[in-house]
Symmetry: C2
Subunit: 261 residues, 2 copies
Amino acid sequence: MAKAKQKEQPVILVTNDDGVTAPGIRNLVEAVKDLGKIVVVAPDKPQSGMGHAITIGQPLRLTSVQYFEGVEAYQCTGTPVDCVKLAVDKVLHRKPDLCISGINHGANHSINVIYSGTMSAAVEAAIESIPSIGFSLLDHSIEANFDGARKYARIIVQQMLKKKVDKHTVLNVNIPAVDESLIKGIRICRQAYAKYEEDFVERNDPNGRKYYWLTGEFVNFDKGRDTDVWALENNYVSLVPVQFDLTNYVLKDKLQKMWKF
Amino acid sequence: MAKAKQKEQPVILVTNDDGVTAPGIRNLVEAVKDLGKIVVVAPDKPQSGMGHAITIGQPLRLTSVQYFEGVEAYQCTGTPVDCVKLAVDKVLHRKPDLCISGINHGANHSINVIYSGTMSAAVEAAIESIPSIGFSLLDHSIEANFDGARKYARIIVQQMLKKKVDKHTVLNVNIPAVDESLIKGIRICRQAYAKYEEDFVERNDPNGRKYYWLTGEFVNFDKGRDTDVWALENNYVSLVPVQFDLTNYVLKDKLQKMWKF
């Protein structure tokens, strides 16, 4: 009986892009620890902004760590996407039932989904036929309060485990940085067209050579009330289903009619 | 008169992910040199598989180089996406009329679009309202024959400059590695669901510590005849219009009806 029960436990792979020691991933593990067999494979250092990068020219290392009480965990020298690939092939030796990534320290709404290591790990899982969710809290601080994020991460993971979802499902979940009591619920949204307007700060090093720091101001070009940015501004948790077929079908049909070579 | 003519010249930003000294980018510049004012800003080293990574924790350097006869060119220490950002803000001080990326040494069809630095540079341009095209030749070799790729890159760039296209247009163009005379033309396609099935090679270093090399076998799960993989297998140039709104709208509508929290 006990054995049968154990067998039914879903395997949940946990990763992130802030690194295995970040408070965000610890909070995510705590939030879902009793919902399945948890295995952590996460980067050994911060990998924010790594997008869907993979490591081609270098080998990877994988080291067992004891950062999570009672949970099997590894740190990996690669990117978040490398972590997912390596976890499936060399740690789990099977596809987990669910992959969750985060909780990211900082927003991954709107166009950020493309730059985000957190979301790229989730997308990688879905490419490999593993349903997945990326979680991000709109607070960069190392001391951020994850109470609300933990609560909603748990609710959404339970939903994913309960419902029969397509194996390529990816959800991008962002949580507003307000007190848990102020969060109005979960909104299923589309990705806003909102982005950072880049500006590089130009400086000179001590040898007089120029260098540039990326910086920028976040601008929302999208006035829709069905977007993730709108939901978050109105104290909702935003949930955007994401896809990895990047084909622009509308434009494809148009070009097929209009372009003759 | 001469001045007016010069003013009409479109500005074309050229980048890649194989690095500024790769034969592929030299061939791309040669193919389109007379179609506008060309400016090259490309990575100073290979950046394959970097996806949409950006450099956050480090500053960037930009150095003028003389690799392309009569063409303003710079190498950048960052990723392909960094190159586009920096080119717009610090080199051109304006949005170019077109951004082209490549010619990549190796395929970027199917799911590769997500891992590809070449394609991520093109996608970054489109996010920034610059129409763009990524070009890839299905030959990894440094000594690949770019004749066919050059010919079709030129045809497609001319088409993009002639037609009024949406400023967020991104095209993913792959060229089969066959003699130019065997190429049957250009097919407008969708992205195939085809991917590398990963397998890590496990080795021990001289100190007995394990390390892993990413490897894998390419598998096409998609039997459609409207895909980029089909087109390339049948000696067509594949052209897939790409989008950066990753919302899965079908699933969004479904979840809005089915999921109650």
